[in-house]
């Protein structure tokens, strides 16, 4: 808020402007402006396409597939313009005097404010989380369909193309619309608070990056409705196959662009916020590990995400403009896609994992009532993963036919990543050691995460070793591995984070009994579902197939039944969240007796987080140190000096 606006003064009065009436409601930003803006932008997209085709003499002038591709760019822009994410910038660009920030779009006064463009990072965080949980449920439902089809060999409910669409959309939604943005949502809520900042550095950009997200999600879900069905090439969408697929493929290409743009903007915002808006005294070595985790993640996002944007552009150009990036008959190179794609998508694994490390560190330290073990090494291992993460992409391509000399170096770097990851696991264990552990739901999920992630990491070592990888790549073993890492890893930490900060976000406590029930159902269901996949994978069950050899029938039936149980456990979670949000007992400001800054304000936090920027005086994890404090709020400067003195001696 304070650092973006350059040319206008800050004013203190910020009463909301009077609500528009009559026909003005149609031109004011909001849902009434959305429909006609979409129509206008649809017209612009179609108009440009038709004009260009007419000028160039390409026939037919009106071609559905081309129009659709262009509309996937312009219609979302129409939506964004309608809902009002661009209003300020349009006023600015046309040279109109920009309104002094009146904060009318800041903070939520009623539930309706969650459906408007809002610049408050706390509102945006909740918007993110609710949206991503919606897509989590949708993608989970698709997984249930997948397991239903796989319950028996042969074809049951779907044809091949539909089945391929089901798992492709499942994976894409889970990755691009759930895991990545759910972490962004949690961090959006928590990071400015932890830093002692009143908001993110660029609140309007923050709002825009949220509103891009539902666009991307509905685009991917909507692909089921187009002729030829949903995109069916997996979330990896390898060229040249993706170039020759039905129209639904474009919905993936464009959906990834929107989701990617959203995550780049958020990451940029986090980086600037973390670098320029830390409270006084909050040196880098006093930042909570969650902030460290989001700092490294954001660096990964900013650097790597453009590569997936590139790869999807190439596929789309090959389709629409008949270019030849991947067509060897015309000088293209098919493996280029995989190199470019994995140069993003391997770091993406860490984009989906590092914020989880941060959440686990917070939860484990607070719930064990002990300082985090080896704080600096924990932060440095994040940076090590960041650096190594960029040098391992080709381990996804050991059997792809790439240059053989790339194999051994990539294997070495891949295996080396186990070292910083191992450091983190051992440090969490050492943090728990001799603690006074409170096994609340977030702690259960955090401990569940550590144990499951070790399995995922160890199967990762198998996959990292080339000779073994050659055997099991593209089998159910890989499916098991990825789910141990992303479900047992990312999803468990997301749940831990949601339970941990639920009292802070809503001001109410969730139901502990239901939370524990949810954990145990998830934990057991998850292991019953995914552990057997290791076995059948090694025995020869490939992945991404609707039909399989009869000898795997028993295990698959078992897995399907377990997966339905796993799916059902989500109902407990939903019920708990919705019920507790409305009727839960008031939580108080600091139910976990945590030291980090977000717990030192009321629940939910005041609209501008702090009355006065706090003064940080020590490490965020000084549990058990007598008299230690992380920060001093509301400006008792004398106390600050005293504490700094204590710390120095």
């Amino acid at each position: 808020m304070t650092t973006v606006t350059h040319e206008h003064e800050h004013v203190d009065e910020h009463a909301a402007p009077p609500a528009p009436t009559g026909w003005r409601r149609l031109t004011a930003p909001g849902w009434l402006r959305v429909p006609w803006m979409i129509v206008v932008f649809f017209g612009i997209g179609a108009g440009i396409t038709v004009l260009v085709r007419w000028l160039e003499g390409w026939h037919p002038i009106w071609k559905g597939s081309i129009i659709t591709t262009v509309e996937l760019t312009t219609v979302p822009l129409g939506f964004l313009a309608g809902i009002g994410t661009f209003d300020y910038w349009v006023r600015y660009a046309t040279g109109a005097p920009t309104a002094p920030e009146d904060h009318s779009g800041h903070g939520a006064r009623s539930w309706r404010d969650y459906f408007r463009v809002n610049t408050d990072h706390k509102v945006i965080g909740v918007q993110y989380l609710v949206t991503t949980i919606f897509f989590f449920l949708a993608a989970g439902m698709l997984a249930m369909f997948v397991r239903a089809e796989l319950a028996k060999p042969g074809m049951q409910f779907f044809d091949n193309q539909t089945y391929n669409g089901l798992f492709s959309v499942h994976a894409s939604l889970m990755i691009f619309l759930f895991v990545i943005p759910a972490f962004a949502g949690l961090a959006n809520f928590v990071v400015p608070l932890m830093l002692g900042a009143p908001d993110m550095a660029f609140p309007r950009l923050n709002a825009l990056s949220y509103w891009l997200l539902p666009m991307a999600g509905f685009m991917m879900l909507g692909s089921f409705l187009v002729p030829g069905g949903a995109f069916a090439t997996g979330w990896t969408s390898y060229a040249p196959l993706a170039v020759h697929q039905p129209l639904g493929q474009v919905f993936f290409n464009m959906g990834v662009q929107w989701a990617g743009a959203s995550s780049i903007m958020t990451a940029l915002n986090f980086l600037v916020t973390i670098i320029t808006m830390r409270a006084p005294g909050m040196t880098f070595w006093r930042m909570p590990l969650l902030v460290w985790a989001n700092f490294t993640t954001s660096l990964l996002v900013v650097i790597a995400t453009p590569f997936i944007a590139g790869s999807q552009f190439f596929v789309m150009f090959d389709r629409v403009m008949h270019t030849h990036f991947f067509d060897p008959g015309h000088g293209g190179y098919p493996l280029a896609y995989q190199h470019i794609f994995w140069f993003y998508s391997h770091p993406a694994v860490y984009i989906m994992m590092l914020p989880g490390f941060g959440i686990a560190s917070e939860v484990i330290s607070v719930m064990s009532r002990k300082p985090i073990f080896g704080y600096r090494l924990m932060a440095l291992s994040l940076l090590a993963i960041l650096v190594l993460g960029f040098s391992v992409w080709a381990h996804h391509m050991f059997v792809s036919g790439m240059a053989p000399w790339l194999r051994v170096p990539m294997m070495a770097t891949t295996l080396l990543i186990a070292v910083p990851t191992g450091i983190k696991v051992f440090s969490w264990l050492a943090t728990m050691w001799e603690g006074r552990i409170n096994f609340s739901t977030p702690m259960l999920f955090a401990v569940g995460f550590v144990s499951m992630f070790v399995i995922g990491g160890l199967s990762g070592i198998y996959l990292g070793a080339v000779p073994i990888d050659i055997h099991v790549s593209d089998t159910a073993f890989v499916v098991a591995h990825i789910h141990y890492v992303l479900f047992g890893g990312s999803l468990f930490t997301i749940f831990a984070g949601i339970y941990y900060w639920f009292p802070k976000m809503t001001g109410r406590m969730y139901n502990e009994r239901l939370g524990k029930l949810h954990f145990w159902l998830t934990f057991v269901g998850f292991n019953l579902t995914f552990f057997p996949m290791h076995l059948i994978g090694v025995q020869g069950m490939p992945r991404r197939v609707a039909d399989y050899a009869p000898r795997f029938a028993d295990w698959n039936l078992f897995i399907s039944i377990a997966s339905f149980g796993l799916g059902a456990s989500t109902v407990v979670f939903l019920y708990n969240m919705i019920w507790s949000w409305r009727f839960g007992p008031p939580a108080g400001g600091n139910p976990w007796r945590a030291l980090t800054l977000e717990w030192q304000v009321t629940s939910p936090p005041p609209i501008f987080n702090f009355d006065e920027i706090p003064q940080v005086v020590g490490s965020p994890y000084e549990y058990g140190v007598p008299g230690a404090r992380h920060a001093v709020l509301n400006g008792d400067r004398a106390e600050v000096g005293e504490l700094e003195e204590v710390r120095r001696t």
Binding site: E7, V302, A336
Partner: protein, 196 residues
């Protein structure tokens, strides 16, 4: 959620870095843009080096000279941009306006020349991998010029409405940084695609 009626505005955030937030923001954005170009250059590498496509594939030719003149125009526009920024730092509004307008016009000339080049070059994106990479790299850069022009356009309009001063000129500085990036990127594109 509970209703909060706030009694005052936000507390001023602590400035924990000497770097200004929006300057840092634009540099990070440019880092991301460089990586996007990186993806396109990777495709260039695979087509030209790994697949060994002849460059340019006969019978096509690249208009090296015309593009060279165009390069000169773009490079010059970087200097006028710099002049505009230096002017406003000294509260010279006429210099700011002239500098921005000149930069904008030169950028526009560059873009139009590029479009003209496309229409006369004699091959289309579908004519083999060489044409593909040529159009996509220059096209990606062209799209960045277009975005840069939009930013410059906004800055120019505001400059003529008298919005900037020696104290407040981020609105000139940030499009300027972006414009220099677009310029440097063109030199890379020009030397790899046209000359090498």
């Amino acid at each position: 959620m509970a209703v909060h009626v706030e009694a005052h505005g936000p507390p001023l955030a602590h400035r924990s870095s000497r770097v200004d937030a929006s300057i840092l923001g634009i540099f990070l954005f440019i880092a991301s843009e460089v990586m996007l170009f990186g993806a396109f250059f990777t495709a260039y590498f695979f087509v030209r080096v790994a697949a060994g496509t002849p460059w340019p594939t006969p019978p096509f030719h690249l208009p090296v000279f015309v593009a060279g003149v165009n390069t000169m125009i773009l490079v010059t526009s970087s200097f006028t941009m710099h002049w505009a920024l230096q002017s406003i730092k000294r509260d010279n509004h006429a210099g700011l306006q002239a500098g921005l307008l000149l930069t904008f016009l030169m950028g526009l000339t560059f873009l139009l020349t590029q479009i003209l080049e496309y229409s006369r070059i004699g091959f289309a994106p579908k004519d083999g991998a060489f044409a593909t990479v040529f159009y996509c790299l220059t096209g990606l850069h062209g799209a960045h010029v277009a975005v840069g022009l939009m930013l410059l356009g906004a800055a120019t309009i505001r400059a003529f409405r008298g919005h900037y001063s020696s104290e407040a000129h981020h609105g000139v500085e940030i499009p300027g940084i972006y414009w220099h990036f677009v310029d440097v990127m063109w030199i890379v594109v020009y030397s790899t695609v046209y000359i090498l």
